[in-house]
């Protein structure tokens, strides 16, 4: 077997061969890149206007973002970048998948926290924790199997719960006509206050502790493996890459994905073509919301199993909202979401050291916001890009048809 044949076989196993669903348009890649570039340029102006040196700010922002190897602090920054990105990619995938089905799932935030609290529960709940603890002790050098299983239980339960939380919004939309944006926003707050104002400060707090200490800590067997000592980098980045692949596969290789995209293409303009072909739109909408919720919840389980090891009293919202940014910059394509998630993760990592140098962290938020702004204006960005490209071409090579008439 020669090498290219092997590569082909390998690609075929993963279904990546012949991936052609539409004409490839380089603008699809160019638009987000140009948007980010424009945001960075505008960001410099904003920083300069505030009387600070934009070059120094960017040197800190990107120098400490973990993107550029080198220096003694790089491994830690790199680890932070990947840990953050894993969560942003998860919520980004959640929103991207819903987008593909024509649904704006603002509820990734709530689904994220539902996933987090359920993972916490299965991480510390005595019957589960003891089972896996005993298994770990019994297995000896094979103890990692118990860790693997306990982690898997927490992640799967978290994802099922988050998926169910998303499916509720889908169900309300399908059966009761509750707008998906309104429904998911409401469910966000219900989830958030149910968790932080009741579960975390009440039933899930160890009896001896005060209400400010957060929940029980999860058992050691539930924690994600660390893969780059001494940093706290864990397997979440690998898991989220698998999730991204699964999302891509779902969308572009399965019958469900075929229907989801058909529904998404026609949903917001009130068209009936998929329905007239016998596609059960209601069922698919609920399914999409389930998958979407499960992906957001995956991010939530990373938050607990990879970083906090308990549900802290100090958790702040934002992972789901960031997912919207990631999905928009990533153009709702899984591969785009991975890249966008890494970019946002890098900005957030670098922002911390920017703040140490007395440059407010909010500048990185401003840049993110402007990037999303340009993406939202992508019709205009596209229009000018096409103009520039045509102008270039016209200058370098005279158009063929004009030559013909001359």
């Amino acid at each position: 077997m020669n090498e290219s044949n092997f590569t082909n076989k390998f690609l075929k196993v993963f279904g990546i061969e012949n991936h052609r669903h539409n004409r490839r348009d380089p603008l699809n890649i160019l638009v987000p890149l140009v948007s980010i570039a424009l945001a960075l340029i505008l960001g410099m102006i904003v920083i300069a206007a505030s009387g600070r040196n934009p070059f120094r700010a960017y040197a800190l922002l990107f120098g400490d973002s973990g993107l550029i190897p080198g220096g003694s602090s790089w491994p830690r920054e790199f680890a932070e970048l990947l840990i953050k990105s894993a969560m942003y990619i998860a919520t980004g995938l959640s929103i991207a998948l819903a987008f593909k089905g024509g649904l704006f799932n603002i509820g990734a935030e709530g689904q994220f926290w539902v996933g987090a609290i359920v993972a916490t529960f299965f991480g510390y709940w005595t019957p589960v924790a003891h089972t896996f603890g005993a298994m770990y002790a019994a297995l000896g050098s094979l103890g990692w199997i118990a860790q693997l299983l306990h982690g898997a239980v927490c992640i799967i339960m978290g994802m099922l719960a988050g998926g169910a939380w998303g499916a509720v919004a889908g169900y309300l939309y399908v059966k009761r006509g509750v707008n998906i944006v309104i429904g998911t926003i409401m469910l966000n707050w219900i989830a958030w206050f149910l968790i932080t104002s009741w579960l975390v400060t009440g039933p899930m707090t160890p009896p001896s502790q005060t209400f400010t200490s957060g929940t029980f800590y999860i058992a050691d067997t539930a924690k994600l493996f660390r893969i780059m000592m001494p940093t706290r980098l864990n397997t979440s980045i690998l898991l989220v890459l698998i999730a991204a692949y699964a999302t891509w596969f779902l969308l572009y290789k399965t019958t469900i994905g075929y229907e989801i995209r058909a529904i998404g293409y026609t949903a917001n303009i009130g068209m009936d073509a998929p329905r007239a072909q016998g596609i059960n739109i209601n069922r698919r909408v609920v399914q999409v919301m389930f998958f979407s919720g499960a992906l957001a919840a995956l991010g939530g389980t990373f938050f607990i199993l990879g970083m906090q090891y308990q549900f802290p009293n100090t958790a702040t919202m934002g992972y789901g909202w960031t997912g919207i940014t990631v999905a928009l910059i990533g153009q709702a394509e899984p591969i785009g979401v991975i890249l966008a998630g890494l970019f946002i993760g890098a900005m957030r990592t670098g922002a911390t050291s920017m703040q140490v140098a007395n440059i407010p962290k909010t500048f990185s938020d401003i840049i993110e916001g402007m990037a999303v702004g340009f993406i939202a204006m992508q019709v205009a960005v596209r229009y000018y890009l096409v103009k520039i490209i045509h102008h270039r071409r016209a200058r370098t090579t005279p158009p063929a048809d004009q030559e013909a008439t001359a």
């Binding site: 279904g15 012949n18 052609r20 669903h21 539409n22 004409r23 290789k253 399965t254 019958t255 469900i256 994905g257 075929y258 229907e259 995209r261 058909a262 293409y265 026609t266 009130g270 068209m271 009936d272 073509a273 998929p274 329905r275 007239a276 072909q277 016998g278 596609i279 059960n280 158009p399 048809d401 004009q402 013909a404 008439t405």
Partner: protein, 507 residues
């Protein structure tokens, strides 16, 4: 004086020469028609004249002066105006607001609505196009909305008016009104370009007619020196047989039957008031009627989109009470819709993906959960060849195809589904002669193959030519049943309008 002249204009799209060295001139005060099949390049040509596209080569003269038209603004400055096929009106705006939008009379920085209304009334009187200046645009019938569109164009001072397939959305009465309007505008000295593929209308209204085929000008003829057959031949490039051959096919078993069907429309009003009929294998049953007499509700109930209030439906002698669209399709129902854009195709999807929608869960297109896009592509390639769907790349989006090719794609999909009952709802709406001929051919093939066909159409010639039996619908009832050899267009026309029907017998 020549109001407009086009000299050697070409437009090149990647891989497609949409207009190939087209030259013609239009005299001031003339009604000049441009006819051609869907995709012949009519719309491209108009978009060049109206500044939406820039030509790849060639020159344009307005009032015998060479001009460069780079944008719609340029075109408006040159006193041109386009009445679009799809109206560019805001439904919630009043007629006045729609007419003045973009060029509103002002009082200081404020919009002077009273003056706008006065201006609109004056304009509408001057050109004798009656509209209610203060009515909400969305509430008006389509014909009146088009009048608003014409007034908007006139208010901008248009001397050359381009009508892009203006009759496509109109009823016959509205079309007659439009022609009266066009004559009036002509008397005022306006120049009119009339784009159409309906030869009957062109012969009625135009002074001269230019025929396009595949981007090339086939010729310009005077109306008085030509006839419909000659125009059709020029458009299609060969003799068109719109004579439909009579096929004698033995009538088979009952495929579809409904009994005393009552259906409400979307506004909750009973629009189908007790309809019973059956369709057998090998026969085409035509449903004639003026639009809005219950045909839409009948179709919606038949395809499982709405639940009948009462009555029963059977497909292949099985009750289809409360079943889903998927179940109906599994039982052997195919459906050709008149609404290609909304109900027929997923426009941003490729030809490939549209070709199998509805069959995508069947082998070989998928196994279990996994799609086999290679098999899908193979199938689509085959259908594109068999049905001659142009331009022929299965990775083109359905939305980029011309209307005729979209319809071919729908036919390709629906006829390749396993089925024995076909609903054809206005299957030739908006299609040119060539595509219409193609659809008729396919329907007759279906009949020959023993399929049961329900043909719903507003075109009486179609109903009379294709059907074995004709049902006439009026006000939610079937008010008559006849056969083509026992009736005429006139007799059907009267029945469709409810003339001579004793309502008491019906209810």
């Amino acid at each position: 004086m020549k109001a407009l002249e086009v000299r050697e204009v070409s437009k090149m799209f990647p891989g497609n020469l949409a207009n190939d060295r087209i030259s013609f001139s239009v005299e001031k005060g003339e009604i000049f028609a441009i006819v051609g099949e869907n995709g012949a390049g009519k719309t491209t040509l108009m978009n060049i004249i109206y500044g939406i596209y820039t030509p790849s080569a060639g020159t344009i003269f307005v009032n015998e002066k060479e001009v460069k038209i780079h944008s719609v603004e340029d075109a408006i400055r040159l006193r041109m105006g386009m009445v679009h096929q799809e109206f560019m009106l805001i439904p919630r705006f009043s007629v006045t607001e729609n007419i003045v939008v973009g060029d509103e009379p002002r009082k200081g920085i404020f919009f002077d609505y009273t003056r706008a209304v006065r201006e609109v009334r004056e304009l509408s009187e001057r050109v004798s196009l009656t509209v209610d200046a203060q009515a909400t645009t969305g509430d008006l019938p389509v014909g009146i909305q088009q009048r608003v569109e014409i007034l908007k164009v006139l208010r901008r001072g248009a001397e050359i008016l381009i009508f892009d397939e203006p009759t496509a959305v109109l009823t016959p009465e509205e079309t007659a009104d439009l022609f009266v309007t066009m004559r009036k505008l002509q008397e005022e000295g306006k120049t009119i370009l009339f784009i159409s593929h309906k030869l009957k209308e062109v012969m009625e209204i135009a002074d001269r007619i230019a025929v396009l085929r595949r981007g090339k000008l086939q010729g310009i003829v005077n109306k008085k020196d030509t006839n419909e057959e000659e125009l059709a031949r020029m458009m299609v490039g060969r003799n068109v047989v719109l004579e439909i051959p009579k096929l004698d096919v033995p009538v088979g078993d009952v495929a579809f039957a409904c009994h005393d069907l009552h259906v409400k429309n979307s506004r909750g009003y009973e629009a189908l008031k007790g309809v019973s009929f059956e369709v057998r294998g090998g026969e085409i049953v035509g449903v004639a009627g003026v639009q809005g007499n219950g045909q839409d509700e009948l179709v919606n109930a038949m395809i499982g989109f709405s639940r009948p209030v009462s009555g029963s439906m059977e497909l292949n002698r099985k009750s289809m009470h409360m079943v889903t669209t998927a179940q109906l399709r599994k039982e052997g129902m195919s459906y050709i819709t008149e609404d290609r854009a909304r109900r027929g195709l997923v426009m941003p999807y490729t030809v490939r993906d549209n070709a199998i929608m509805g069959q995508h869960l069947n082998k070989p297109f998928s196994r279990g959960l996994r799609m086999d896009y290679e098999k899908v592509a193979e199938f689509a390639e085959g259908k594109v060849k068999e049905y001659d769907i142009r331009p022929g790349d299965i990775y083109d989006t359905a939305g980029s195809l011309s209307g005729g090719n979209q319809q071919k794609l729908i036919l390709a999909r629906e006829l390749s589904l396993p089925h024995n009952f076909l609903i054809a709802s206005q299957p030739t709406r908006g299609l040119d002669v060539g595509a219409t001929e193609f659809v008729y051919g396919k329907l007759l093939e279906e009949k020959k193959a023993g399929k049961a066909i329900l043909l719903i159409s507003l075109e009486l010639s179609e109903i009379l030519g294709l059907s074995d039996r004709i049902l006439v619908m009026f006000d939610g009832h079937i008010v008559g049943e006849t056969t083509p050899d026992k009736t005429t267009e006139e007799a059907l026309g009267l029945l469709m309008l409810g003339v001579g029907i004793d309502r008491k017998v019906q209810s």
